[in-house]
Structures are given as structure tokens and as C-alpha cells.
Subunit: 705 residues, 2 copies
Amino acid sequence: MEFLLSSANGIALAASLVGIGFAAYQLRWVISQESGNDRMRQIASAIQRGAQAFLRREYRAVVVLVAVVTLLLIVLGLIPGSGMSLWTPIAFVSGALASGLAGYIGMYTAVRANVRTAQAASKSLNSGLRVAFASGTVMGTTVVSLALLGISLLFLLFASQLPAREAVSALAGFGFGGTSIAIFARVGGGIYTKAADVGADLVGKTEAGIPEDDPRNPAVIADNVGDNVGDVAGMGSDLFESYASSIIAAITLATLGAGLAPDKTLAGQVFPVLVAAVGILISMGCTFLVRTQESATQEMLLGSLRRGVYTASALVALAVVVLGLALDLGWNVVIATLSGLVGGVLIGYFTEYFTADSYRPTQQLSESANGGPAIVIIRGLALGMFSTVAPVVIVVVVTLISAATGGLYGVAMAAVGMLATLGITLATDAYGPVADNAGGIAEMAGLGKEVRTRTDALDSLGNTTAATGKGFAIGSAAMTALALNAAFVTALMGASADAGAAILRIDVLDPRFITGLFLGAVLPYLFSALAMLAVGNAAQRIVEEVRRQFREISGLMEGKAEPDYETCVGISTDSAIRQMILPGLIAVVVPIAVAVLSLIGRDNIIGQFVGPTTLVGMLIGALVSAFMLAVMMANAGGAWDNAKKRIEAGHLGGKGSDAHKAAVVGDTVGDPFKDTAGPSLNILLKLLAIVALVIAPLLATTPLV
Amino acid sequence: MEFLLSSANGIALAASLVGIGFAAYQLRWVISQESGNDRMRQIASAIQRGAQAFLRREYRAVVVLVAVVTLLLIVLGLIPGSGMSLWTPIAFVSGALASGLAGYIGMYTAVRANVRTAQAASKSLNSGLRVAFASGTVMGTTVVSLALLGISLLFLLFASQLPAREAVSALAGFGFGGTSIAIFARVGGGIYTKAADVGADLVGKTEAGIPEDDPRNPAVIADNVGDNVGDVAGMGSDLFESYASSIIAAITLATLGAGLAPDKTLAGQVFPVLVAAVGILISMGCTFLVRTQESATQEMLLGSLRRGVYTASALVALAVVVLGLALDLGWNVVIATLSGLVGGVLIGYFTEYFTADSYRPTQQLSESANGGPAIVIIRGLALGMFSTVAPVVIVVVVTLISAATGGLYGVAMAAVGMLATLGITLATDAYGPVADNAGGIAEMAGLGKEVRTRTDALDSLGNTTAATGKGFAIGSAAMTALALNAAFVTALMGASADAGAAILRIDVLDPRFITGLFLGAVLPYLFSALAMLAVGNAAQRIVEEVRRQFREISGLMEGKAEPDYETCVGISTDSAIRQMILPGLIAVVVPIAVAVLSLIGRDNIIGQFVGPTTLVGMLIGALVSAFMLAVMMANAGGAWDNAKKRIEAGHLGGKGSDAHKAAVVGDTVGDPFKDTAGPSLNILLKLLAIVALVIAPLLATTPLV
């Protein structure tokens, strides 16, 4: 049996290393491409410096957080009888390192691939697609490989040193480490990207009347940096966390015996690891299916990406069946895993339905622009609200099927299944900002019109995959959080009753539970409000700086003088990091505060008002509330964006018409919705869940009900 | 002991009758006031006819719903062993009648008081205030008196005919009856009022360039009718339901023994009834405190309303202490009741803080209008999201205190306490639309400038009370729903285990429970999306009709020809009733469908996917999700409204400036938020809860966990 564990982890290690090698190979290939003329290289270098500056600043802040949390975990581990292992801080630091490294590599690649994509697009559409997608592949493969590498190494180590229950408890620290990066990268990155975008547009397009991506705009480099910061590093760290946490939740539930026969524990532990390992290899292979011909239409471009993703899904499904049966886990567990895989694809489809301009909802939204900005906003919000139904039904059905077939373990495996093809889905996602940047560089460097047309086609494709990617990120975050919650509750029960698969029955009318539900449900609203205000505040600072430069640098508008890009980059960086501290703190401190109060209230009157059930209620309330709000914001934002683009493409009077102006208002509201507040909620709900899981041993001594 | 029951109900009956007499006296006084010149009477008569037409149409639709549900309840009652009493349909019809009658009387008064307020305002500000407030008093007193009359009569009747448990189960039908009116009045009324408002503004102000309330606008009468339909009848039926249901929930929980010692059952049953009775009398008395002097500022006007409400609150608090101790219920129950009373006042305060232009949030929002419409929307949404924190914390604290002191019975008594002063709080609320209408009539009839200034002052005061009233309505709806949920769960448990205060412990990870939570949480989003789209669709039809009239009726713009008001009224009525059917059906059918599936799945595989725990989850999910969304929409809408008014009062360039245009966009988005979708959610969450409570006996035979 030991042999199974070590050989499965060996396979996972091998797959991870192959993945890392593949990513390195792709990165080398990208770097080896031509990087264009001097002007292009100069612009690209400015973007690179900006991205570096942000990462440096972000990581400096992260180091402080990681150091504090590590210390805290060590102190907790040293307290006798706390139940916390001293291996937890080790896992925590590893998770933070792995996620941080993945973000660094992804960003390093993206800010070099952008200029090379622009140059390649001057040769042909297919060349451009290949460079941009190779950059996405580096990110996708790196994220999954580093996550699996960390988990399998730590699992091998912990399993040899600790009893099983403690080993998985410590393993949760790895997910927590990933989250500590994600909170900075996703929330801070989200604020950065939209502050720079909105700031650049407000003064550039509206006041100065110069086009988007005009090199005279001092905020243009910050805007381009923002695409990478938010959509490459932010998205990557978000999904790193989901990916790692879903695997950890499945291992934990298998170990605690929730939903599996006692003789299946070991098979249950290695199954998620093997599914992930095979998923990496298949995703890698399928990236080669992504290529197109020169005269490709938008449909064909999308088709080539889909070919890669759908083939990978089909092959992973096959692998799940083979592995599940080979491990003798039976069809039940296989069906549970597959339900998640199918659910992920379906959520992607419905997201596209509600946000792409080839379907009715977005077309109707763009037509409502004739009624003015207020109507666009009302319709867009209604569309966003309405669009929550499909993902909710999908998540519910996946949960019902996976729980009916595989119990709580089945739910976690559904999350693993949903994320098994992440290597390639993330590649399609991380490809977008590279194409977007390439367009910007082509514009700024004054490349020919046909180059710009090609980069536009690549960019437009990126917008579609970005919207779908967001839906997928939210759906998988919800499934992961559900799996983590299951692991938390089971750990709480298991540790307190030492009864394995005992069920935590809660008095649903217990005011502590109700309190938790309400507080959990209000957190996403508070978090979103802060994120949206942060974008507004940061954008305001950019606007003032851009105005100052136009006023003080003579010859700037005439194109005779260079703007000071660095200052705008500095302002974006600085605001983003500072504005994310409050929402970030809330997400970390609130669950810990509830846990501490529960501990304090163990034997006194405080326990009547706060207890572990408060924490359970809070996790559930936050999960449900954040999921709705995130889907609504992401889809409303996506639909507004594409409704505007549809008008720009010539409908309803095209650019400059009143309908276009109304649609621009929708798009501007949608920006912080879909790129800042919405995605931040993914982090919030996973963060609450993983913090709870990490501190679960602490609460084990507290009476539960 | 019997004696206590009948004498308490006797007191309640007497208080109700005194209230009805008082309302009749006030109504007579209002009618006896001068109704102005011919032109004014003519306009008022058009509004009266429009309001009548809507009520007729609404009640015709209601009759169908009531008939169908009554039949269904009779059939269920006839099925042997269903556990449903045949008295339930009787209570149901009574509730529908009482709520319908209260709405009719309130509306009858309001559409006669409006013109008399305009006339009185031509004499003095205080005269105007007195007429408008007397109209509000009729509504407020009628609602509470009819609700209490119905409950005490039915309770006396049922208690003499049935065992206690069945008596209270049947009593829930009364609340359900009130809800069936509310769903039409609040949702249909909300659609009506905003469709007419938005429609009138879009063509009138924007296209034709004529001022608000201009008699040449064919939709102007519909707009004025809408104020009465939505804000008088709609608000009244909403609070009728909360008021009745909170009392019923408290009686039910006392009877089932949840949170009370066995020898306190009777005292627990009569306490809510007596608190309500005393509350009616005190509220009536305190209406006499509302008067002002001629040179009154806005502050003084608000002060005079507050004097009435705060004095009533203080006196009711005193009465609660005396009654609670006299009935020997002890300080615990008294504290529980008072916590609700204080909570209601606090929610009102925080709502005002976030929506009134005398505080920072709305001032900042209006200043953000300099940044254009998108910024106004982003800031307003952020403000709305942020403003959810205070009411959540208040509800949570009230729940914790009332549960800790009085158990589940304490939670229900907190809801009763919160609503005990409804007689006067609803009066201040229902006063608003009368003042608004009076201003419209003054404008249309071309009364002097000083009259318009006075009605404007009264109207502006009405806007503030409307916003506070909305906060109060949502808060009390949440507390009522919580109390109803407690009654439902206790009934479910009590009936199945026959164990009185048994606690329903649910496996929080049971996928059926999770399913319920998610489905419950998505319902408010679906409901809001439908409500907002309904406003858009109905407004569109009005716009087309108004355009047609301007085109086809020659001399209309020159003021030489009369527009065809009736057609616009007809369109609003028709659209409102038709568009509310789908959301209304969803709210009724979904919980029943879940219950029926639970019954069907009792002994087969369906039971693995749906069960009574699904319904419990759904109630909790909907409560939490609807509460957040409703508060966000109401407060964002209120703040946008007042931010616009602040600019119109001369800030940031005043009317016609770019900032004003941006603020108008916010206000237009806010209209369906605060007057349609937001308030509809109150009904949704109470409807789900009361339907569940009514059908609870059905589910008693189903295994629970």
C-alpha cells in the first residue's frame, strides 16, 4: 500500500517535472522569436519594467504577510495541545513560494511575448496566434505543474513523518500559502489594471481626444502593464489556489474517510493526484492542436482554441474512467469526477451565451443602448442577475450527483475533475492579455494597418476566452470552496469525535449559525464595495497625474516630447497595493477572529453568541452570497463590454453615436465589476474556507453544538 | 386560564375597533376639507379613476389566485391524514380580505387627500401637513387594526374549536392570505409606479422638453396614480403581511413551546396580541404630536414627524415592560421584545444616514457626478453594497439578544416589537405619496408659486420618510421571515416528533440542504431581474403611447387639446398586472414544488435529491440573499435620488449641468431598484416562509434528515 502512495506521487512528480520542462521549452521558443524594431523593443521594455516594478512591490508586501502568518502558525504549533502541526508553516511557505514563482514566470513570459506576438503578426495571423498562445501555455503549464509538484512532494514528506490525519491537516497549509499570494495578485492586480485602464481612458479618450493606446498618453504603459498584472498573474494565482485546494480537499476527505469505504482510503488519496498528473500531460499535448490558417475568421480562431480544450476534456474523461476503475474506486467515484468535468464545460458555455455578442442577451443589451445610459445599466444588471440561474443550477446538479455517487469525497473529486484540464484552459485565458498588449504595441509603434487588424482579431478572441475563463474561475472556486468546507466540517467533527465520517448536525435555528450566515453573506458586499471604491480612488490619482503631464510637459500633445510613463506606473502600483490591504485584512482577520472568539467563549457566556457553528455558517453564507454576486458582476461586465464592441463594429450608428456613448457608460461600470470586484470574490470565498480548514484543529476542543 | 385568552383577545378586538373608528373619523375629516377649484377637482378625479381602475384590475386577478389557492387548501384539508386543517382556507380568505380592504381604504383616502392637501397648502404649510398626514394615519391605523382584528377573531374562534397545535397551524393561513394580496400590490404596484414614472420622464422631460407634472404629458396622470399604487397600497400590504405574520409566528412558537417554560404558554400567546393592541392605541395617540408652525424649516418638519414616532416608541417600550412583567413572562422576554423595537429604530437611522443628503455618503455621491454617469453608477452601487453592513449587524445583534433571552419565541417577539409602532411609522410613510401628488396637482392646476414651494417642502420630507420606511420594511421583513422560519422548523419538528421544543439538527453538508441554500439564494436574483425587465418593458409601451399622442393629437403641445390620460393609465395597469405574474408564480410555485417533490420522494431515490431539508435550506438561502440585495437596491436607489435632488438644489452647477445629467442617470437606474425590485424582495422572502409554514403539516410525515 505504501508502494501505491509513493508510486502515485512519483508519477505526479514526474508529470510536474515534464510540465516544467515543457514550459521552459515553450518559454525559450517564445524568447527566441524576433522582437521587432527599436521602437517596439523600447515600448516592450517599458512594459517589462512596469510589470517588474509591480511584482517587486507586491512581493515585498507579500513577504510581510507570509512572515507574519508563518510566525503565527509556528506559535500555534508550539502551543501544547493546540492540535496544529509544525509542518503547517512549512507547507504554507511552500505554497506561497510556488504560487509566487508561477506568477513571476507567467508575467515574465507575457511581457516578452507581447512584442514578439506583434512582430509575428506582421508576418501572419497564425504566427501571431502561435506566439501568444505559447505564452499562455507557459503560464497554464507552470501553474498546474508547480501546484502538483508542491503537493506531491509535501504529501510524500508528511506521510512519512506524521500520522495520516495530521499529514493532511498540515497539507492544507500549501493551499493557504497559495491564497496569500492570490489575495495580492488578484485583488491588487484587479485594482491596478482597472485603475490604469479607467484613468488612461478618462483623460486620454475623453478629455484629450486621443485614441486608445496612443503613445502620447502618459498612462498608456501602465494600462498595458495592468493587462498582465490583472489577467495573467491575477488569474493564474486565483486558479493555482483552486487547483491546489481542490486536490488537497479530496486527499483530506479520503483520509478522513468521508464517503469512501475504509479499504479505499489509499486509492482515494492517490486518485486526485493521478487525475491531476494525467490532466497536465493531456493538456500539454492538446496545446499543439491550437493553430489556424492565415485566412481564419473569428469563428475559426475560436474553433482552434476549442479544439484544444474539448479534446483535452474528452481525453481526461477517458483517463478518469481508466484510473478510477484501475484503482478499484468503482463507477460511483468516476461519475462524481466526471460530473465536475462536464459542469465546468457547461458553465463556460453559459457564460459565453450571456456575454458573447453572437447570442441574444448581449445583442439585446447593445440594442437597449438606444434608450440611453440608464437603460443600458438597468438591462445589464438584469442580465447579470438573470445569468446567475444557470451556473447555480449547474453547481447544484454537480453537487447532487457527485454527493449521491461519491459522498463528500465525490464533491471534492468533482472540483478536481472540473480543474483537471486547467493546463490548457488557463493557457487560452492567459493568451488574451498577450494579444491585447501586442495590439497596443502595434498601435504605439505605428505598425501597418494589416498588422493591427490581425492583432485585433487575436485580441477579440482573447476577450471571449477571458469572459468564459471568468465563469470557469468562479464555478471552480465555488466547487473548491464547497470541497474545502466539507473538509473543514469533517475535520472539525473527525477531530472532536474521532469518528471518521461523522456528520456535523447543526441546529439550523441556532442564532450563532444564523449570525454566521448573515455575516458571511455580507462580507462579499463589503469586499466588493471596497474593491470598486479602490478602483475609483486609484483612477482619480492617475487622472490627476496625466492631466499634470499634459499641462507641464510642453510638446507632449504634439508628439515632440516623451511622457513620463514611470510615474503613472508607480502611482498605479502604489495605489493598488495600498487599497487592497483593507479588503485583504478583512478576509483573513474575520474568520480568525470568529475562531478565536469561539475558543475564548468555550466555557463562558461568550460561547452563547459565538462558536464553531458561527464559522460554519459564515463559510456557507459567504459561499452562497459571493457566488451569486461574482457571477452577476462578471457576466454583466462581460456583456457590457461586448455590447459596446458590437456597436463599435458598426451596429446602431457605430462609434461616436449616442448609442455608443450609452454603451461606453455600461462598459465603464462593467470594468471594475468584471475585472476587480467579481474575481476578488473568488479569492474571498476560498480564503475563508482554507483559513478555516487550517485552523480546524484549534477548534476541535470546542463543543460544537 | 381560558379567561386570560379571551380577555386578551377581547382587548385586542376593542383596540382594533377603536383603531377602525379612529381611521373612519380621520377619513371623514380629510374628506370634509376643501377640494379646491374645478381644475384641481378634475385632475384629482382623473387620478381617482386611474387608481380605481388599477385596484379593480388587481383585485380581479387576486380573486383568481385566492380562489385557486383556497380550493387547493380545501382539497389538502380533505385528504385524510394530510394534517392540514379545513380552517386554514377560512383564515386564508380572511387574510386576503383584510389586506385587500386595508389597501382599498388607504388608496381611497390617499387619492382624495392629495387634492385637499394641495388646497390646504394654499392656506398654510401646517394645514397641508395635517391633511396629508391624516391620510397617512388612515392607512397606518387601518392596516394594523384590520390585521389585529382578523388575528384575534380567528384565534378566538380556532382556539374554541381546535386543539392548540392545529389552531395555530390554521392561523398561519391569515398571513398567507395577506401575502397573496401583497404579491400583487407590491410587485404589480412597483412595476406600475416606475413604468409610468420612467415612461412619463423619458418622453416628457427628455424628448418633448416639458417639465415634470406638466398636464400636456399624457402619462402624467398614470405617474400620479403610480405614486398611490406603489407607495400607499403596495407598502401597506407589505407591512400588513409583516405585522400579521410576526404576531402569528410568536403565537405559534408560544403554542409549540419553543423558548418558553410550559406554564408560560398562555401568557406567551397573549403577549404579542396585547403588545400589538397597546401599540395601536399609542400610535394613534402620538399622531396628534405631528404638527408644525408656518415658518417651519425642513429640519422642523422632519422633527415633528420624529417627535411622533420616537414618543410612540418610548411609550410602547414602557408598555412592553409593564405587560411582560404583569404576565409574569420575566425580564428575558421583555428584553427580547425591546431589542426588536430598538433595532427597528436603528435600521431607520442607518438607512437615513446612507440615503439623506444631510450626510456624507449621499453628498459624496452627488459630488462624484462631476466624473460622469459611469462614476455615479459605480459609486452608488458601492454605497449600496457598503450600506448592507449596518442592517446586517443590527439584525444579527437583535437575533442574538432575543434568542439568548427568549429563545425562538424571543426572536418572534423581537419582530413583533419592531412592528409594534407600525400604526404611526406607516402613517409617516403613506403620507409621502399624498404630498407628492399634491405637488403634482398644484403644478398641473397652475396654483401659485408659494403653494408649490410648500408642497415641495412636504414632498421632500416624504422622500426622506420613504427611504427610512423602506429600510424599516426590509428589516422587519427579515425579522418576520426569521420568525416564520423558526415557526416552520419548529412545526416540522414538533409535528413529526411531537416533542415540543425539539431542535431540528441538519447535516450542514447534506447536498439537499446545500441545494436548497443555492436555489434560495438565486431566487432573489431571478426575481429582481424579472422585476427590472418588467419596468423596462412596461415603460417602453408608455413611451410609444405618449409619442403617438404627441404625434396624432393636434394642439396637444400648445396646450389647446387634452391628452388621453386614460389610455396611459390602462397600459400601465395592464402591463403591471401581466408582468408580475411570472415572478409571482415563481415565488409561490417553487416552495410548493419542493414540498411536493419531498413528499413524492419519501420512499424512493428522489428523496436522495430533494427533501424537507431542501425547503429549509431554500428558506435560509433566500432570507440571507434577499436581505442583502434588497438593502443594497433600496439604499443605492435612495442615495441616487437624493444626490440628484441635491444637485437640483443648486450644487455642482444645478439643473441642466453635466453633473446633473450624470445624476439623472443614477436616479433612473435607482427607480426600479428602490421602488420595484428591492421592495418586491420583502414579499418574496416572507411568501416563501409563510407558504412553508402553511404546508408544514404536509411534510410532517416525511423523514427529516
